[in-house]
């Protein structure tokens, strides 16, 4: 069995005491990051990449540490959703719908345990799915030429724009912004300067980490200054946490269904965890016998989206690892991590660096078990950390962002650029322009152009070559559908409103 051999290889690397310690630290830090309002998986991982890079970790240690943070943040997001009615991150939004009402009814402990177990089920099944599907997809991806890759990138931008945002024009513009920024620097094929305006700092292009930290972390500071940290009040008190076996048994169907839906949503390039939790919740609601209890504290309404969002997080790793196309904001950040570590994801990764792939998968399984252990009995510890006031948290986050970029590049110019990206992130948030396509554009821009140009070299300038293979054509069709269909579906799939926080 190939699979078992590979897994054994992965565990032999990931089970060393040193990597285990890293995984524990990563899970712990990740859960905190996920739980803190305003910090989610993407900006948490973004903040930590430059720092872990400056600390000189080798590729596997850095991967183990940061994927543990990633999974941890996916777990942690539910804590503030349930207790504060504030999603710690976007995918956790659906969990607030029933989680917060449960907490209001004095069932906060139950909601936390159910969602913790649901997270485990979702993440575990998705990791198993990843093990089974990723090597297969990597073999398929070997057949992809530049035309297919170009179409695939289009598909990623289109589904991200169509499904993940409210306004297609805005998200397409965000993608263009990112692609345009990626062009800055020396052109790889001809070695000619582009858009550098003679500025030395721009010769190497704009470091995607600078953009990511600015857009995801620094922009939060501006947002909090504007709102004066109004959303940081503590909500519901947490009583004694017992394990509600009966409730777990009742919700196991919802967990499994949510995992399946979430996993599929995660695999779609560009769709990601938010869509996974959304579809899992809506799916569970539509098959339920008492639809009215959803939104009023139905445990199934906590289990399904939480399983969905964690399964999507695992599923999103599949296109990221096999094709180099991330499915969500956080996987885009993880792609940035791999690129920083000089690992190029794609089909070759599976044949040339099986140690990286399989130790990553082993680390995910280990992190998952650790997180279940941490998140059920130790949930009170994390709840206490939630009460860090935003007037300490946000300045701290900003300074960590500066330290990361400073120790990575040592340049004032890059730090100013990071602040500028923070302003851009703030303006985009105000105008409801998604920032994830910007990141994706910066990350994929050069590869996308490169594939287009190589396709044209192969075909000697014949543009129809881009639509010449069945795989490429199906990607193009999927891209167009993914971009346009949501306009019509949006009428039917309205996001339910968040439960209101009464001041009583």
């Amino acid at each position: 069995m190939d699979l078992l051999n590979n897994l054994a290889l992965g565990f032999s690397i990931a089970l060393s005491p040193y990597t285990l310690v890293l995984a524990v630290i990563g899970c712990f830090v990740g859960t905190i990051i996920g739980a803190l309002p305003g910090l989610g998986p993407s900006n948490g991982v973004a903040l930590l990449i430059p720092i872990s890079f400056s600390m000189g970790f080798d590729a596997i240690s850095a991967l183990v540490l940061l994927t543990s943070v990633y999974y941890g943040a996916m777990y942690g997001g539910r804590i503030s959703s349930i207790l504060l009615n504030i999603p710690g991150d976007e995918p956790a939004m659906m969990t607030t719908l029933d989680g917060y009402p449960m907490a209001r009814q004095g069932k906060a402990g139950e909601a936390l345990v159910v969602s913790g177990v649901a997270s485990f089920v979702g993440a575990f099944l998705a990791t198993v799915g990843l093990m089974l599907m990723a090597p297969w997809l990597a073999r398929v991806a070997f057949k992809f030429g530049p035309a297919e890759y170009f179409a695939l990138y289009m598909l990623a931008f289109c589904t991200l724009g169509g499904v993940g945002s409210n306004n297609q024009a805005k998200s397409a513009m965000a993608a263009c912004l990112g692609l345009g920024i990626a062009m800055i620097g020396l052109d790889k094929t001809t070695n000619m300067q582009r858009f550098t305006f003679g500025n030395m700092h721009l010769f190497d292009g704009i470091d995607f980490l600078v953009a990511i930290v600015g857009l995801f972390a620094v922009s939060e500071v501006f947002h909090f200054i504007e709102t004066h940290g109004k959303n940081s009040a503590i909500g519901v008190k947490l009583g004694k946490v017992l394990i509600p076996w009966k409730m777990l048994n009742d919700t196991k169907g919802a967990m499994l269904r949510g995992s399946g839906i979430g996993f599929l949503a995660g695999i779609l390039p560009g769709a990601g965890a938010s869509l996974g939790s959304f579809l899992a919740y809506m799916g569970e609601k539509s098959i339920s016998r008492d639809k009215d209890s959803f939104g009023k504290g139905n445990p199934n309404g906590v289990a399904a989206p939480e399983a969905g969002n964690n399964a999507a997080a695992g599923g999103a790793l599949i296109p990221m690892l096999t094709l180099g196309v991330p499915g969500s904001g956080t996987t885009a950040v993880l792609l940035a991590l791999l690129l920083t570590l000089n690992i190029t994801p794609g089909p070759l990764l599976f044949t040339e660096r099986p140690d990286v792939v399989w130790s990553l998968i082993a680390a995910l399984l280990i992190a998952n078990v650790m997180l279940l252990i941490m998140n059920v009995p130790m949930v009170k510890v994390f709840v206490r950390i939630l009460s860090v006031p935003s007037y300490i948290l946000l300045p701290g986050v900003t300074m960590i962002a500066f330290v990361g970029i400073y120790s990575l590049t040592g340049s004032s110019f890059d730090m100013m650029l990071m602040v500028a990206f923070g302003v851009l992130g703030y303006v985009c948030r105000k105008l409801d322009i998604p920032t994830v396509p910007i990141i994706l554009g910066i990350l994929l821009g050069n590869a996308m152009e490169d594939n287009m140009r190589r396709a044209m070299i192969l075909s000697d300038g014949d543009w129809t070559y881009l639509f010449s293979s069945p795989i490429a054509i199906s990607f193009w069709i999927a891209a167009v559908l993914g971009f346009i269909a949501p306009i019509f579906l949006r009428r039917f799939l309205k996001k339910p409103p968040l439960p209101t926080t009464d001041e009583d």
Binding site: C176, F195, F224
Partner: protein, 146 residues
């Protein structure tokens, strides 16, 4: 309405500038059928199309900060830029204390808490990064340390 329109117009100008700048990219002897200019042109054109949609079909407007909040944001921006310039000559600790103190005050205007936050973050983060995580930070102004 206004926000989307203004941003759309700004983006049209930016994209036109981008296309104009792309026309000046020089080709080299290593040429390919596409060359270094086509992709930037495409990006610029799609940006203009999207920006036109934003101008013609803007979303309902959000509330933009005015008056004191806008001033606060401006101050925050200024000190962050200042930090980017000053952290090298002044070392990590002093600028961090000042900047995180000011940011803290802006989120929650209580001078005492803000000062404590600044001191705590300046010293705490320095210890964390320098001694626990082992990053090569300079704590005090390098000029003083000789």
């Amino acid at each position: 309405m206004r926000g989307d329109r203004i941003f759309g117009l700004v983006m049209i100008v930016v994209a036109l500038g981008y296309i104009l700048s792309a026309t000046t990219i020089r080709s080299s002897f290593m040429s390919d059928p596409v060359g270094p200019r086509i992709f930037p042109y495409l990006v610029g054109v799609v940006t203009i199309l999207c920006a036109l949609v934003m101008v013609l079909k803007p979303d309902p407007d959000v509330e933009w900060p005015i008056g004191k909040t806008l001033l606060n944001l401006g101050v925050a921006l200024a000190i962050l830029f200042g930090y980017a310039v000053l952290v090298k000559p002044l070392g990590f600790i002093l600028p961090t204390i000042i900047v995180s103190g000011i940011l803290s005050y802006q989120i929650n205007p209580q001078p005492k808490l803000a000062a404590l936050t600044g001191l705590g973050l300046g010293l705490g983060l320095f210890v964390l990064f320098k001694f626990i995580l082992g990053l090569g930070l300079k704590g005090l102004p390098p000029a003083l340390m000789g």
